[in-house]
Amino acid sequence: VTPRALGGAAAGLALLAFLAYQGRPLDVKEHEATTRRLRQASTLSEALQKDVLRLRQGEIASYDPLDSEIAALREIHRALSSPPRFLGPDAKADLAARVADSAALLQSTSEAVETFKSKNAVLRNSLAYLAAMGPETTGALAGSADGQRLAEELNRLLRDVLSYSLTSREALAPACQSRVDALRGEGQMPGGVSRRDVDLLLDHVVKTLQTKPPLDAAVERILSPAATSKVEGLHRSYEAAHDTAQRRVQRYRAALFGAALLGVSLGGLLVIRRLSRDAAALRRLNDEKNEFLGIAAHDLKNPLSTISGYTSLLLEDEEMDAAERREVHKKVLLASQRMILLIKNLLDVNAIEQGEVKLHVIALDLAALARDVHESFREKAAKKSQPLRLEGDRFLPVRADRDALIHVLDNLVSNAVKYSPSGKPIVVTLSQGPLGGRCAVKDEGPGLSAEDQRKLFGKFARLSARPTGGEHSTGLGLSIVKRMVEAMGGKVWCESALGAGSTFGVDLPEANPAELAATSPEDAPARSSRWASVEE
């Protein structure tokens, strides 16, 4: 699992979490409570209007319902003033403004209701008084000799006041008022009617005339369509805001579903790719193994054939003298030694691959080791008339396993000697590299094709280049070198072109020179017994 894959997965999960959060369902309880409140507000507004009318008509006689309705409406407005949290900020602000607007109207309505209660009580009482006492007084007046006119006057006044109280004939008011004024100026009443009783009647008439306009105004304010339409508008705008919020949630849910689906598809794709890559790698490994078995069997067959052939010769040819036999024995020995070397190399590769090799990485002077290796190949190179030169830095502290590094350097120089034609120079150069120390071995051999360079460090790389002095090769050397160098944290490389020679190099991590002085007295043997020699 790469960090990039982890990052991608984390980002994907964060996206899903965000979408899931945004797509969470609206708070049903809050929505229901709000809807219920709005519905109750409508019901209450209508009930308030209806009750005011019924009180006005005398159908009911208690003002308690009005107070309960207004208290409940206040409570609802208070609750609505904090809109549901799931609404967007704009919708919230809009709704809160509408609620405040409606609450202000409710306040003015409740003031009108107070006026209504007071004035309605007064008007009812005066009308009741007129209804009860009016006929009695007019009857007494009418019964007397000179009271006919006054009785008619009073009767007409009472009729007009009643009519005024029940209708919207506002023009009756001034007419009634002037009749009242006229009757007030009449002085003593005939027919045993007391002046005081008539005055009380007139007082109630005046009270009726005074009370009706403000009462009507209050009723009009309470019954104004604005009161109910405000609440209904509130309900409508809340429904719209809720729908918007609902659509937003649905969009996020669709996105969540899409993203999740995409995530699953992507995950599946990655798994399939990974599996097919693994399958390809396994196939390659199997091919390599088959090839390896073929090559190994082939390479082991040659010396065995030699051994077998010479051994039968020894058995069959009884005429061979001792010197000849000794020569044949030497050849058998050589063939079996070559087999041992090959098998040892195979075991080395295996050991490195299985991670069974413990490298003891310490600070070393790469230059000193290179000098030793250079020294050990001088004779061999001289035999092929190859000038073997050592150039560059005299001191290169690196971190490496001593035996492994000697084996690597041996191998590189040995290959150069092996594959370079006679007389061509070989140069070992020591220098600072990108990691720390670098040792490069340059020859003027046939060079390597691009194809060969690719296969170079694989097992049993059988390249087009052939040893130039009849030497043998197991084809395992460079693959061991590569594994060793990488195990030490270094890099092995090759630069070459066909016909232009090759340069093989090894880069190793830098070491602190002080550490080198402390840990590495230069007394270890230059050659190791832990690794199969590249020499045959």
Binding site: S62, D64, A121
Partner: protein
């Protein structure tokens, strides 16, 4: 992970939908039997521990600045929830400006005090402590002092999650006020169908009460307490009272400063009225009969016979309920 997420997402999303409990507005109770008066409902459901605390506080003189008066000094729970004086003596012996109203059945009034200054008992209670004529204290100060009383501190911790605070002090007192309901008045039993609960004379009084228009203002569960009215609809009470007009006589004008509210008062409840003499905001009517006569004269423009007044007194006396439990 993704597949599990998809499978679980409905569960996760639904668990996110857990909502807040909705607060419903109070139910509106209706009785459309045409009667202007409805029987008292039972006292609202209250926390008994809070009520008990409120009752103790109600009789505690530490609520006043000089520890001279408790709520009970003016609101005698055994005598109609008020005192028998025209006006009372508040903190430091200062004369109050108006006659002390009863604290019984306040839960059913929609306005508090003579001018209807407050719409709720809580709002009224908030201002009461600092009133220089009543307690001249502060809720903070009272709370601080009572916290030193271990018995109070413990009882408050039990009754209120926040313990003893100015707010919980007030809440306890309001809970107690709301518990002070006087049920089972003979008139309520009569309304409930028990015809013999109301003597003949009282029944005649009730008929007059409706016919003459008393019930135009004194109506509802509390026989008043739910509206405003001008004192002197049919005459000038204050000119004819015989004493100079005071600030307190201006009534609701003192609250709203509207000319139309001059001499306007909250219509008081007539429940237990026979126990709360003297009458009116100024305590100017020493007896129920005299109060009825003044009302008839100045509110209704009528003069009543002594027989009618006696009937009305009989009716109003039938509004006396049972003194609330723990009150006496």
């Amino acid at each position: 992970v993704v597949a599990t997420g998809i499978v679980l997402s409905p569960l996760v999303l639904d668990s996110l939908a857990a909502g807040t409990p909705a607060v419903d507005p109070p139910a509106v109770e209706r009785r459309d039997d045409g009667e202007p008066i409805q029987p008292l409902p039972p006292a609202p459901a209250l926390d008994a521990r809070q009520v008990a605390l409120g009752r103790r506080l109600f009789g505690d003189k530490r609520l006043s600045a000089d520890r001279s008066v408790a709520c009970t000094s003016c609101h005698d729970l055994s005598a109609g929830g008020a005192d028998t004086l025209r006006t009372s003596k508040g903190v430091g012996g200062v004369q109050t400006l108006v006659n002390t109203p009863t604290i019984f059945n306040l839960a059913f009034n929609s306005r508090v005090n003579w001018s209807g200054t407050y719409a709720t008992l809580d709002a009224h209670m908030a201002d009461l402590s600092a009133n220089p004529i009543v307690m001249k204290a502060s809720w903070e100060g009272v709370a601080k002092e009572l916290r030193d009383d271990p018995a109070y501190a413990a009882a408050f911790r039990e009754a209120f999650p926040e313990g003893l605070t100015p707010a919980s002090l007030r809440a306890a007192l309001v809970a107690f006020e709301r518990s002070m309901v006087t049920p089972n008045a003979p008139f309520d039993r009569y309304l409930a169908g028990q015809k013999d609960a109301l003597p003949e004379e009282a029944q005649e009084g009730y008929r007059l009460f409706k016919a003459y228009g008393c019930s135009s203002c004194h109506q509802g569960v509390n026989v008043g307490g739910n509206m405003f009215q001008t004192f002197g609809v049919m005459g000038s009470f204050f000119e004819e009272r015989g004493t100079p007009e005071t600030d307190a006589d201006q009534g609701r004008f003192n609250v709203t400063k509207k000319e139309s509210d001059r001499h306007v008062f909250r219509v008081p409840s007539l429940r237990n009225v026979a126990r709360t003499a003297p009458y009116f905001h100024d305590g100017s009517a020493p007896t129920l009969g005299s109060a009825i006569a003044v009302m008839a004269r100045y509110q209704l423009g009528r003069s009543l016979t002594s027989r009618e007044i006696a009937s009305l007194v009989a009716f109003l006396t039938s509004l006396n309920g049972e003194t609330p439990k723990g009150g006496a």
